[in-house]
């Protein structure tokens, strides 16, 4: 009996669920990862889905995938290659086979591997002959038919019955990795509270899948991944978009300001607007504008009126917002612009990740138009950097661009719920009510920040605008010397933000020759690669930048400590070029990928070792 199947303890596992867009793979993956997080593992996930909502069924273009990486040790990436691929049809196999480890397991719904689907996926003959499956364990499971069998008497139509087959797959994998089923059942009870028949159906199929895996002799063993050694505290699962939204809400609460988000839906940033729109209980105001430009302009209006104003977008939207960002620079109003980067140029790869908006964020505007640019580097620290973006914007009366990316936005990880008391105060530079002879562009001599006079405040009536302003008085000015002065002031004002940002830190070997340099969302992959290379006995260090403009004050000093600098990014080398411009005294090497995908740890370790040797 398989009940005696031996249990093997392992450190970490990556599982990729894949199927048609309509097969419910995102939900399956989410339930599995939440279960693992609740169980105490460290977890990292990444969904990989097509831009088309429902591409033709059975085609490679319509394949939706969700990878879960969980472990007993610290998990920093969703994993390059998977130990288990769940393929609900031949197209899922075709799209994902390349990601299966040479000794991995493929569980597939054999009922969907008929001649028609095999052809639709682009296979000419038997898929398992066309792909090199040597060393891979193939589990042929009649998932569709067993789901039908399981639910034949339940009183649902055939279509609804087949919709439950993803839970059969979840059951199989849950047995294989010794996962409890309670979380999924609890989810069904909440989700289908008004349709008890669906609770019953999904629960039954889930258990049937679990017992199927236990009963068949196909699996020689099942695996146990012990809970990770994680810092004590209360945790929840969070993705980057939600973390951005919550970070901004936290900043608004801390600063005691009304949060206003004018925005326009765009993949992969929409989740932030959706999250904020749901939070009317915290009095968040969201304004779904008619376009990207109106999104930012309503926010600028709200900022003028005294709100903590934010706008959210992705690359193409940032391009449209460029002129208005300049308006916020000129009027010196606080504003946070979140750019969830995706593959470009133009519409590009809407659902895929990339780091190619860096130059746009830094320079994509007319005139000398400096703004603060910061980048978050894990799904959960999107909360911290969104908070910091708001803090800097308000305290320095400036637009701040926060860069995240599609990988961070949709990736989830366990997040230790913070105590907001541990977050720094946000001092709002509001003009005091009894200030005499207040001037709109009078500045704090230290930070060069002007004060914020909000409509409704008596005696502070003033006019702001897009035309050049006279220093101090803020009236329209065409005086040549004033324009030069104001250009320098706007630049200096942003440079002075460097005083408020923490120094650049490195991880790894202080005495290494090679410093790996990354920025933003690549942290998880870079730190994992660093660990692997060090485990092999090499000395190497990593510096991950979160503050891009201004750079941390000790940047040059840190870079100067290493012989070789290898800048790794998902673009053609924008940060390397930026560093070259800021610190031309050092030579920079580059490692770039631009496939719409996160780095693989494998590619990175190869590149690092190669650069250690060269």
């Amino acid at each position: 009996m398989s009940k005696q199947a031996k249990v093997i303890e392992i450190e970490e596992v990556a599982i990729r669920f894949s199927g048609d867009s309509g097969d419910g793979m995102q939900l399956t993956g989410t339930l599995f990862s939440d279960t693992s997080a609740l169980y105490g593992n460290d977890v990292s996930t990444f969904p990989d889905y097509p831009a088309e909502i429902r591409a033709p069924q059975g085609t490679v273009g319509g394949v939706s995938g969700f990878q879960v990486h969980f472990g007993h040790t610290q998990i920093n990436t969703p994993g390059d290659y998977c130990d288990v691929l769940v393929a609900m049809n031949p197209a899922a196999l075709k799209a994902n086979f390349r990601w299966v480890k040479p000794d991995g397991i493929i569980i597939y719904d054999v009922d969907q591997f008929d001649a028609k689907n095999i052809e639709k996926a682009g296979y000419k003959s038997d898929p398992f002959e066309e792909e090199d499956v040597t060393g891979i364990q193939l589990i042929s499971a009649p998932i569709s038919n067993l789901t039908k069998e399981s639910l034949k008497d339940i009183g649902l139509d055939q279509k609804s019955i087949l919709r439950c087959k993803n839970m059969f797959a979840l059951g199989i994998v849950s047995w294989l990795y010794d996962r409890p089923l309670e979380h999924a059942v609890k989810f069904f009870n909440t989700k289908f509270a008004k349709k008890p028949i669906l609770v019953e159906a999904n629960t039954k199929v889930l258990y049937d899948g679990y017992y199927y895996a236990e009963t068949i002799e196909a699996f020689t063993s099942n695996f146990k991944v012990k809970p990770a050694d994680i810092e004590k505290g209360v945790y929840r699962s969070i993705n980057g978009n939600q973390a951005v939204a919550w970070g901004m809400m936290a900043a608004a609460e801390k600063a005691d300001l009304q949060l206003f988000c004018g925005s326009y839906p765009i993949t992969p940033a929409t989740g932030i607007l959706e999250e904020l729109a749901a939070r009317k209980d915290l009095r968040v105001k969201t304004f779904q504008a008619e376009d990207e430009i109106a999104g930012i302009c309503t926010s600028i209006g709200a900022s003028f009126a005294g709100s903590l104003a934010v706008t959210t977008t992705s690359g193409p939207g940032l391009a449209l917002k460029g002129e208005a960002i300049g308006l916020a620079v000129m009027t010196e109003l606080p504003l946070v612009i979140v750019d969830v980067q995706r593959g470009g140029p133009s519409t590009g790869l809407p659902t895929k990740t990339e780091q190619s908006d860096l130059m746009q964020a830094l320079y994509g505007r007319n005139g000398e138009s400096p703004v603060v640019v910061i980048a978050s580097s894990t799904p959960s620290n999107c909360f911290d950097y969104a908070y910091m973006a708001c803090k800097i914007a308000v305290e320095h009366m400036t637009p701040v661009i926060l860069l995240t990316d599609g990988f961070l936005a949709n990736g989830t990880e366990p997040w230790k719920i913070p105590d907001l008391n541990d977050f720094p105060e946000i001092k709002v530079p509001r003009v005091e009510r009894d200030t005499k002879n207040w001037q709109p562009y009078a500045r704090d001599p230290e930070t060069l920040t002007r004060t914020w006079a909000i409509p409704g405040t008596p005696g502070m009536e003033h006019r702001l605008g897009s035309l050049e302003k006279m220093n101090i008085t803020g009236t329209v000015s065409y005086v040549p010397e004033n324009h030069e002065l104001m250009s320098h002031i706007r630049d200096q004002k942003i440079q002075k933000v460097a005083k408020d940002i923490p120094p650049l830190e490195i991880v790894g070997d202080e005495d290494a020759d090679l410093l790996i340099i990354g920025w933003g969302g690549t942290y998880g992959h870079l730190v994992t690669a660093l660990t692997e290379v060090r485990r092999e006995g090499h000395k190497v260090a990593l510096a991950q930048f979160n503050y891009i403009f201004p750079l941390p004050s000790n940047t040059s000093e840190v870079l100067g400590r290493f012989k070789k600098l290898l800048v790794c990014e998902i673009n053609l080398g924008q940060f390397a070029n930026y560093l070259r411009m800021q610190h031309p005294e050092y030579p920079y090497r580059k490692f770039n990928k631009i496939m719409g995908l996160p780095f693989t740890v494998k590619d990175l370790t190869e590149a690092i070792v190669k650069n250690l040797e060269d």
Partner: protein, 338 residues
């Protein structure tokens, strides 16, 4: 200062007004300054928002809060100001290029949402600040710097656009009739919802006398009709002309001819929700019809967008158990690592 004691001069800023001598904008500014003390708002609660163009310099000349934006986006900026703080009285100053060309999208969406903002559209049928190119309201055939052989485009009619976008308020006046302008602006400001006031404005430099047909003092009264809610549509120097509805169309008739008396004429109902008649009136043009001035449509909306947003937030806030970030972060699925 007591609100009642405010005078037009109190709303004047210290900035030198830089419009051309003879420009219609001067008269509009003076009409607005006359209206402001009568609105019942304090200085500090009034905000003027503008885009780019000659008219958009306006906020600099009014001693309230003001925001001079970027081209075409005043409607969006103002939407943000009003939504952020519904207690403010918000005006948008825009022109036919700023508001109907580059800002056309924002114009229709402002109107559609019915945000309680008062928009004054300075329509001079030309781009003035860029020195004389045709605009979306230029008459077909207009010879301008970018249409040396005459435009081949149909012009927009601001009233038609407003009503087409389910607008609740549309009025029209002429720069050279400041008293009427002030009256209309007061009506516009009272309206709860988006009010659009089109001011036919003369650009003395690039499009002089574009409205000459209807502003010329000798013939003016025969070519315009002042619409007043509840009153029959009579006009003319001798008050001998009127408008009648026949076969679903408006007809110009002469009183006394064919036995027509003022009882046969249309009576203006600005408050009716039925937009058809307002559209016909707003689109009337000389020479076939008199041009309609006054409040053409003022149909009270149930609630403006900004009020609905506040109501929704308070309703959800009242029902929810989540009242702080701490509540939110600890809601739903969490687990403890011991």
């Amino acid at each position: 200062m007591d609100i009642e004691q405010l005078k037009p001069e109190d709303f004047k800023s210290d900035q030198m007004v830089r419009w051309c001598a003879g420009c219609g904008d001067h008269a509009i500014l003076s009409s607005v300054l006359k209206a402001l003390p009568q609105l019942g708002y304090k200085h500090e609660d009034v905000v003027f928002v503008s885009g780019i163009g000659c008219s958009s310099r306006f906020p600099y000349y009014v001693n309230t809060y003001g925001f001079h934006g970027i081209h075409g986006r005043a409607m969006a900026v103002a939407s943000g100001v009003k939504t952020s703080n519904p207690n403010l009285c918000v005006f948008v100053i825009t022109g036919d290029g700023d508001g109907l060309a580059i800002g056309g999208n924002h114009f229709i969406h402002l109107v559609r949402r019915d945000i309680d903002v008062n928009l004054i559209l300075f329509n001079n049928r030309i781009y003035g600040l860029t020195k004389g190119q045709y605009s979306p309201t230029s008459k077909q055939g207009s010879v301008t710097k970018t249409s040396p052989f005459g435009t081949i485009e149909q012009p927009f009619k601001p009233g038609g656009i407003t009503i087409g976008a389910n607008g609740t308020f549309f009025a029209r006046t002429i720069d050279s009739m400041p008293k009427i302008s002030t009256e209309i602006l007061l009506e516009a400001a009272k309206h709860k919802g988006t009010s659009i006031t089109e001011v036919l404005q003369n650009c003395v430099i690039y499009n002089d006398m574009t409205f000459g047909d209807i502003t010329d003092r000798d013939n003016r009264d025969d070519r315009i009709i002042m619409l007043k809610h509840g009153e029959p549509m009579i006009y003319g120097k001798n008050q001998d002309k009127g408008l009648m509805m026949k076969d679903n169309q408006i007809h110009v008739v002469k009183l006394g001819e064919n036995g027509i008396s003022d009882k046969d004429l249309l009576v203006h109902d600005a408050h009716t929700e039925f937009a058809g008649i307002h559209l016909l009136l707003a689109n009337m043009d000389y020479p076939n019809f008199p041009v309609a001035l006054g409040v053409i449509r003022a149909c009270e909306s149930a609630k403006s967008y900004d009020v609905k947003m506040t109501d929704q937030i308070e309703a959800v806030h009242g029902k929810s158990k989540i009242h702080s970030m701490h509540d939110l972060m600890h809601s739903g699925s969490t687990w403890e690592v011991k």
